[in-house]
């Protein structure tokens, strides 16, 4: 029998969670879907060693909604991937996020795992990260004494590392709705279709008028140490003609960017041509 040997509290409101987190010491952890926490503790991961209090946030209604007002979508931090996949708002306005969520784990995992847990854990292969990055997602973070907003890009500081401080909880993800002229796509390469850790992911969102690129956002996960936007590529492509030649140049350049970000790794030999071809195809389909 496996026993995590710690206290577990399941408060019913955000106010109580904030109070518990404020009273905490460093061995208190938030527990959402538990798909990283429980496996992490079981596998003896250093990040969860000495946890003596888990604050279960599954019973707080404040972080469970998906809302749209005017040009902004707000997703509660405790929304599960199954909730995301079932939401019409997400299907209509944030299809890249829906596609990313629907590729995660299995039905059982998607029924438990939450969106905030995914990027707070910040594994290189966290699949929502590239999607949220191209949507310019902003997080709302609360503690007993403060409330602030920070962009996801800034929040993610390194593999399995974020800017989250003791006492804080992510409450919301806020996304400006891209207008109808944007089109985008998400691609994931895993070893097999389900329950597969991503080897490579790529998200692209682009708006072009009369074939000229007005705005393009490109991000990747798994292949880079953390999910990241490719700002050099985005600048390079801006205002250029969206033709086959540009798609080819961009896919050439993403190879160089990934090499620069990772240094040469044994797996690069096969990954580089794959990511180049993936980006080329995604871009060509979006023209």
């Amino acid at each position: 029998m496996m026993n995590l040997n710690c206290r577990i509290l399941s408060p019913g409101s955000l106010a109580e969670v904030l109070q518990l987190l404020a009273d905490q010491n460093s061995s208190t952890k938030i527990l959402a879907g538990g798909t990283d926490v429980v496996t992490g503790i079981k596998q003896g991961s250093k990040r969860f060693i000495n946890t003596d209090l888990l604050v279960d946030i599954n019973r707080i209604p404040e972080i469970k909604n998906i809302k749209k007002d005017k040009n902004k979508i707000t997703i509660g931090a405790g929304v599960t991937f199954s909730d995301l996949c079932a939401s019409e708002i997400i299907s209509n306005d944030l299809p890249i996020l829906k596609k990313a969520a629907s590729t995660i784990g299995s039905m059982q995992i998607r029924n438990r795992a939450t969106i905030a847990g995914n990027f707070v854990n910040n594994a290189p292969c966290a699949d929502t990260v590239p999607a949220l990055l191209v949507y310019n997602a902003v997080l709302e973070i609360e503690s007993l004494t403060s409330k602030k907003e920070i962009s996801l890009q800034e929040f993610l500081s390194g593999p399995y590392k974020t800017q989250l401080k003791p006492g804080e909880i992510v409450t919301k993800i806020i996304i400006p709705v891209p207008d109808d002229n944007y089109r985008g796509d998400f691609y994931k390469l895993g070893r097999r279709r389900a329950v597969a850790i991503s080897r490579l992911t790529l998200a692209v969102l682009v708006r072009h008028e009369n074939n000229t690129i007005k705005d393009i956002r490109i991000s990747s996960g798994a292949i880079t140490p953390i999910g990241t936007r490719f700002q050099n590529l985005e600048k390079f492509a801006s205002r250029k003609n969206f033709d086959e030649n540009l798609c080819r140049e961009l896919s050439q350049k993403i190879g160089e960017e990934v090499l620069a970000a990772t240094g040469l790794r044994w797996s690069s030999a096969y990954k580089l041509p794959v990511i180049q071809q993936m980006l080329f195809q995604l871009l060509m389909n979006l023209r």
Partner: protein, 157 residues
């Protein structure tokens, strides 16, 4: 130790438990419900699948304290007395049970699917059971059994 109350296979139960044990262990050891199996213990195989408030979840990733007040259904809870559930009958009829280790989880994932989508496509069936690994059957028999059950349940309604 803490006291938790929940609905287990349609009956109210109360039990003293360590809060940080897995629901998988609670079911097997405190309730002697050994139909719920442990394969991998890390969310990958689906042998430990139960329905929590109607949703298929891996009981190896849920802690005892978390099911306080919830509704839990295990493989032991889907037959009506001595009458097997149509899914169980069809799994047997279609050769979808070989060693049987995956079967409880596989049946429960299919059960959750049919509750939500009474008439699923092949793709929807595959998606619902993608988190349940089977080393024996090759899955075709399982998909056939689920389709047949969907037909029968529709006729009953």
């Amino acid at each position: 130790m803490m006291e938790i109350k929940f609905t287990l296979n349609k009956r109210e139960v109360v039990i003293q438990t360590e809060p940080g044990i897995r629901v998988l262990d609670l079911l097997r050891e405190s309730f002697n419900l050994t139909g719920t199996k442990e394969g991998c213990g890390i969310g990958e195989c689906g042998a430990c699948t139960i329905l929590l408030n109607g949703l298929a979840v891996n009981s190896c990733l849920v802690l005892a304290a978390q099911i306080n007040g919830c509704d839990v259904l295990t493989i032991e809870g889907i037959a009506e007395g001595n009458e097997l559930h149509p899914l169980q009958k069809n799994f047997l009829l279609h050769g979808a049970v070989q060693c049987g280790f995956c079967s409880p989880g596989m049946v429960l994932s299919s059960y959750a699917l049919l509750e939500k989508i009474p008439n699923p496509t092949d793709e929807e069936i595959k998606d619902a059971i993608a988190g349940n690994l089977c080393r024996c059957t090759g899955y075709k028999q399982i998909i056939d059994a689920v389709k047949e059950t969907a037909k029968e349940l529709k006729m009953i309604k």
